[in-house]
Amino acid sequence: MMAAHHRDADSPGSGRRIFRLATLGTAAIAAFVVAVGWGLDWAPARTIVPGWPATTPATATGIGLLGLSLATAASTRSRLASVGAAVLVLLVCLWALVLVPAGFVPPGDSPWLSLPSIATSVTLATLAVGSLLVSGNPARRYRVVGLVALVGLMLPLHRLFVLALSGPGRTGASPFDTMSLPTATMLAVLGIAGLLLHPNLPYRSLAAARDTLGTLFRAGIAVAVFAPLLTAAGVLLGSRIVDQDLEGLLAWASTAMSLVLASLLWTGLQMFVRLQARTESLAQRFERLFRFSPMGKVLVDDTGRIRTANPASERIFGYRAGELVGRSIEDLVPEPLRDVHRRQRNEFERPGDSGIGASNRAVDGLRADGSRVPLEITLTTLPDEEGEMVLATMADISARRAAELALQESENRYRQLTQSLPQLVWTCRPTGECDFLNAQWVAYTGVPEQAQLPYGWLDHVHPDDRDALMSSWKAAVETGDDMQVEFRIRRHDGLYRWFDTRATAIKDVEGRIVKWFGSNTDIEDRKLFEVRLHETQRRFELAVQATREGLWDWNLVTDDIYLSPQWFAMLGYAEGEVPYRGDFRATLIHPDEAQGWRTVLQQHFDARTPFHSVECRFRAHDGTYRWMLDRGQVVERDADGRPLRMVGTDTDISDRKVLELSLRQQTEDLTRSNADLERFAYIASHDLQEPLRMVASFLQLLDRKYEGKLDDTGRQYLDFAVGGARRMQALIQDLLRYSRAGRSDEPLVRVDMNRALAVALDNLSVAIADAGAKVSPDVLPPARGQAGELTQVFQNLVQNALRYGGEAAPELKISGECTDDGMCTFSVQDNGVGIAPQHQDRIFELFKRLNPNDGKSGTGIGLATCKRIIERFGGRIWVESQPGAGSTFRFTLPSDTEQR
């Protein structure tokens, strides 16, 4: 249809041919009238109807010239000739119209010299002006020329009507009714030709114009057609009004008919104009729909040739603008389908038909570069003046295809992902019914997926958690908000484990829930850890409260430090009274310890010590200093090992410090007194002993040298003095032993008790022999102690037994045995006087003796020495005795067995 439209508009067509025939034909006829009618004087050529007025030679010549002028007016080449002919015609008409009434009558009476009549001249002049107007460029003023032509048409038509109605009888009734029949006919033809003057645009486009000029033109047509009829009728009416004959009646009737026809023509023309406009706007709409459609559109004729293609289709197939038109539609079909397409091209389903599907078919198209493009095509037919054309509408769906593929792939990936997640993953419909549980869920519960949908899974939730879970779930389904809830799920073996469940609604662009997506993460271990952590924390808090420890947490980058309430309380500050700054805290440290504190801290910062631990004094609120044990550890370091954060505690150790100080004092005192004792022991052994030895020795020397010169009394006095001196010596010796007993720093070792006893008995061999004592030692087990000291113990005990023997000769039994508790008990049993129970403890005290000082008794130091030695070795000593029944001294020592 488009093509038809264009073809119609572009070709000069019949209008042009008619124009040429009319103008040149009229010129030829005019020449014939002059040549034959007048030159050969053949009347019918001048009058057509015999007896009727003839066309004068001047008129015929004017018409011929006008015809030539009009015929050549449109051409630039013959412009001069056209203008010249028109001007010549105009000059003749000017003479006839202006000079004749003014008296300039041509000389003579020859018909050759007669001028055209007024009516003829007006018409000729009008059409000549039209010819001049379009001369050289008819397109320029063609619409005006059209009007001019209409005007030029009116007089000849009027005359033709008059002649047709009443014949030439009425000729001369008015100056406009003078035209002869040939003249009127020829001028009418030229007038019509004037309307067709434009070479390309026919008169009808002028008549269809929707502007004032078009309206005028359309009115002009009606006027040009009917005004002559009216005027002709008016002429007749004017002459026959009184006759009341048939002609008069006809005149009336034709007049009325003319009016009706004129109005009909007018409305028809107006309707035509409207229809024309609508058609054009429809065409334009179609054109735009076609051209600017995002869908590719191709019009194909019944031979398979592409008649029109829109830019979208060119884009789809990769052709340049205009390249598709004229190609075969099969050029756009990939090779394997081409033949089928050619055969079945016209068998698609038309509306109301049932053939091959023609709506939204997905096919592949072949692009200019040989690649394929997936298309979705809809076919329909369009009627055309040359038959039927097919409109193919197509969309490039490669993007959609790719998106579909991507969607498919992402869905697969998502499936795989959910199956590989350690979590239990599920999805539910927007209404809350679940439609998918992943493999982990199934494996965990041990129940097939289908058995748990849509709500079967709830059976695996711990009964105590179900209500809370369901109310959360219902709330989530209603609001579409995310859900997070913790509950226990039963494992296939019946064990419940805690899960952290999160659900998110997947929503479409309008916010409607499409799907619920959820995952359950096993948090059993975390839960356990939380409980333990809480316990640990609580324990720690209690411990901190109990131990009076202040906590601090020091940011070493910003120097901010957190100090716990307990920290402030320990030093008597109100909470926050000390700024939370690390450097300020350091200023509270006593100047004597500040340097040491910094050194230790720096060592820890340099990672040379695993902990920071310093005892130092902090200034309390009241200005006094409190001893603190400041301990801490860097808990964060940067990549270069620089400390970032340190936490620690301060423990109030003032009490301990005081105790420590007094203990140190005591230790020092004790050491000093021990040293004094040592000195005393030395003095006793040497300086004190020396004069005694002198006394004793010289008394003895005296006794020896002057024995015979002393009387009995003198000798007795001398004996007392010697005895006193000896006793004094024994006292000093024993005291020395006592002071040294158990003071040795030597470590405890294995002692062969048999040997220790043997040495003791050997030392006492003289005394034993003197006393006539019988000593029976058993085999003794080894013990831990020091051989020399234990010899002393045995020696003292045996000596004691000898000293306090009864009437009979002393009998001593010495035995020992070890028990499982790691101690060995040794006993020295005698048959002596025995000791009353009330004295049994006293005998181990220093200088406590049960017997009077008769010279034979001991110093009262021996047993005390034994006690001191045994206790130093971790044992104890006691006596079991009854007066007169002998005594058994027992002592214990750690056995040597545990060391083996």
Binding site: H686, R693, M694, S697, L701
Partner: protein, 148 residues
């Protein structure tokens, strides 16, 4: 081995600040009826003077045995011991440390200074005399010493 010479008188040097002890030693030796001459000095300086024949002791003989007490005025017995044992001539003379001290430290120290023996003075007179006589007998009659 040459024959002992029991009748050759030997000079014994007794370094002892306690006159009582000096008398007891003299008594002990006298009782033994040996014709040895006992020289008694009361302090360490005199002892060194005697040994080096200095001052009053210019005519002193070289002793064949020294009884040395440890606690002496002016110059301690330990110093005397050290000086004697440091002298290549004097070190050959046997030195018997004869003291009332039974302290272990004194014993160890004396032997460390090369004392020939260490004897604690017995408390009992009888024992005292026996010990002195034993020492004299041992060092002057039993032991063989380099010829003086």
């Amino acid at each position: 081995m040459s024959d002992p010479m029991p009748f050759t008188p030997v000079d014994i040097l007794l370094v002892e600040d306690n006159l009582g002890d000096a008398i007891l030693v003299r008594e002990a030796l006298a009782e033994y009826k040996i014709r040895n001459s006992l020289h008694h000095v009361q302090d360490g300086e005199q002892a060194m003077d005697f040994l080096y024949r200095r001052g009053d002791h210019a005519e002193a003989p070289t002793p064949g045995l020294i009884f040395l007490d440890l606690n002496l005025p002016r110059k301690d017995g330990r110093e005397v011991l050290m000086e004697v044992k440091s002298d290549p001539e004097l070190r050959q003379i046997p030195v018997v440390v004869f003291t009332s001290s039974a302290a272990e430290t004194d014993i160890v120290r004396s032997y460390g200074l090369h004392a020939n023996c260490y004897v604690t003075k017995p408390l009992d007179l009888e024992q005292f005399m026996r010990v002195v006589q034993s020492i004299e007998n041992f060092w002057l009659h039993i032991v063989r010493l380099p010829g003086v």
